[in-house]
Amino acid sequence: MKTSVFAAVSAIALTCAMPAVAEPQAEVLHWWTSGGEAKSVAVLQQEFADNGGTWTDMPVAGGGGDAAMTALRARVLSGNAPTAVQLKGPAIQEWYEEGVLADISSVAEAEGWADVLPASIAGHMMCEGTWCAAPVNVHRVDWIWANADVLEANGIAMPTTWDEFNAAADKLAAAGITPLAHGGQAWQDATVFEAVALGILGADGFKKAFVDLDMDTLKSDGMVAVFDQMRKMRGYVDDNFSGRDWNLATAMVMNGEAAFQIMGDWAKGEFLAAGKAPGEDFLCASVPGDGFLYNVDSFAMFNVDGDDKKAGQDLLSKLIVGQNFQKVFNLNKGSIPARVDVALDDFDSCAHLSAKDMNESSDNGSLLPSYAHGMALRGAQSGAITDVVTAHFNSDMSSADAVNMLADAVANSM
């Protein structure tokens, strides 16, 4: 029915030889293929179709987006870029510098994105003053998750300083419970590292070290203290952690084998899927220290030919940042909306806490990009830091050596 109407409309348009209004087309490259994520994309797909667009899905799974990036590289080099691509952080600007991103400022200005997005998140969506990407969600990375029963049975409150955390962990270890559930994969080591770094260096120190790559901060005594705390964290992890996936670590917290896990709010999805209730079965809190580390997924628009594809980009950008999609998508994904004016009534208490902290930290300048999840630095630099973090965590390297290695690795990655 619908297609025949379109066919009729386009036939009339053709016979009148008038410039037809192009039907929005979008080919979307993404790597959201697992259960909850695929459902979230389907929401967008449906909304796009309801607004008269034709969506061509191009999901490329594997390697946490590595496979999708390889596909993207091939498409761009052959001069046939997809309409929209799931990209995030400085990778957006990196592709912009290759001269392949489109300008979506007209949509962004018409929709007033600048007023509804937190300034530092909006900054990631801009390429030299023009809008080039649309944010989908905000994951908070610096969460600490805990098993409520285990904490209660051992008389422990949620720690608010790293000293309290260490005291609680020692107590738990003495009681025969693994204090920290952790998986020995480089990105998980880096996730714990940046949470510790935010607590010990503070928001300013974190920004200097992992956004500005300030050599003095990277070599400072504060950084030595961060590695000292990482060495302690290593002692709180069970012996069998190597190569463990993050969701298995979450399961350890769920069934009481372990007390805490430091992980982004995608871990919440695991708890909820297992039928656990926030505040009752499991607790969420920000890690000790002030600040908010975000991991924002976004779609970048690539240069394409044809009015139908350009119309598709405009429609897609508008829908992505639209209130309805931001709400439905983030309810599915476990994150919070990137725009601050979405009603959060249907969200759980952890999401409320996340949204409140995001607004506060946005005001006082401690809303910071996560380095471990590719928001703060380009691949070469963040990879170099992760190499050092994971080498230190998995050996008996001293903190002083680690700091020197860190500075050398960062310098060498430029």
């Binding site: 761009v76 020995g184 012996d239 069998n240 190597s242 965590f393 050996s395």
Partner: protein, 290 residues
């Protein structure tokens, strides 16, 4: 006409594959060499900047570890596979009754992909699931076998899995070699009352020299291009303790958007392969001229 065809058909038939190899092997080697001299990041760039990528490569502790691991893994993998393969071949060569069955059992690991081998051994060697847990459950509480999570020992765990996979294949090579030795010589030696081990060490094994060389070349290139085994078994970890040059190159090219660095590590890998293959080719070609 037929004479012309006879003269030119071989050339015409070979031409497509010759051109394909020229472009897709040597052409791409040249392309990689060029890119390794540039500052390419996300996409390849073509302005030559000198040896900067090689300087970065050799300043990187991770690449140091990768080269050291290649050396340890390569040496142990080749030596142990050859020794084990030869030993099994000699034992199977004793005209035993179930030889067919045993030979198949030893050869089967080669039929598996390295990913399967790596995943299976990851579980077997995992302290919480595999051998360590089993022996401890038997009552030996102090037994410990945690190589796969120990950064100093993890590369040896990779060697175990690699040897398990390859030694059966080496056995098959050697068994064929043992069978090809002229039976008359062996019988003559037996008539002279020479003990069995002496027959093997002084007659059979020396006459198998070409087989040793083939086995060495096959194992050496398996070792250098090893990638899937490490990815499946340890993922390069703990930390980057089991990184090999191939996994380093993959990380640089596909995860970090550092194509120049990936190209330079690929060139170093190729240099290692050449260091092994060229002497072999040289000796092969020379013997043919004689």
């Amino acid at each position: 006409m037929t004479e012309w065809l006879e003269r030119h058909i071989p050339k015409m038939v070979l031409a497509p594959s010759f051109i394909a190899i020229l472009v897709f092997v040597y052409g791409f080697i040249a392309w990689t060499a060029w890119v390794s001299l540039t500052r390419s990041r996300l996409l390849p760039k073509y302005e030559v900047e000198g040896l900067i990528q090689y300087e970065r490569l050799f300043a990187s502790p991770r690449f140091d570890t990768a080269m050291m691991n290649l050396f340890i893994f390569g040496t142990l993998f080749i030596i142990i596979s050859m020794v084990l393969g030869l030993l099994i071949a000699i034992l199977l060569d004793q005209k035993i009754r179930t030889e067919g069955v045993l030979r198949t059992i030893y050869l089967y690991p080669m039929a598996l992909s390295m990913i399967v081998t790596g995943t299976a051994w990851k579980w077997i060697m995992n302290p919480g699931l595999g051998i360590e847990k089993m022996v401890r459950d038997w009552g030996f509480e102090n037994f410990s076998f945690d190589w796969v999570i120990d950064p100093d020992m993890a590369i040896y765990a990779v060697v175990i899995a690699g040897v398990w996979q390859a030694s059966g294949f080496v056995m098959a090579l050697f068994l064929a070699g043992l069978r090809s030795v002229d039976g008359e010589i062996i019988k003559a030696a037996q008539v002279d009352g020479i003990p069995n081990w002496r027959i093997y060490s002084a007659i059979i094994i020396p006459s198998m020299a070409p087989i040793f060389l083939s086995a060495f070349i096959v194992l050496a290139h398996l070792a250098i291009k090893s990638f899937d085994l490490v990815i499946a078994l340890t993922g390069g970890g703990p930390g980057y303790a089991t990184d090999l040059p191939a996994t380093y190159m993959y990380a640089m090219a596909f995860s970090r958007g550092d194509i120049g660095q990936a190209a330079s590590s690929a060139m170093v890998m190729m240099a290692v392969v050449f260091a092994i293959i060229v002497p072999y080719l040289y000796s092969e070609l020379r013997t043919k001229h004689d």
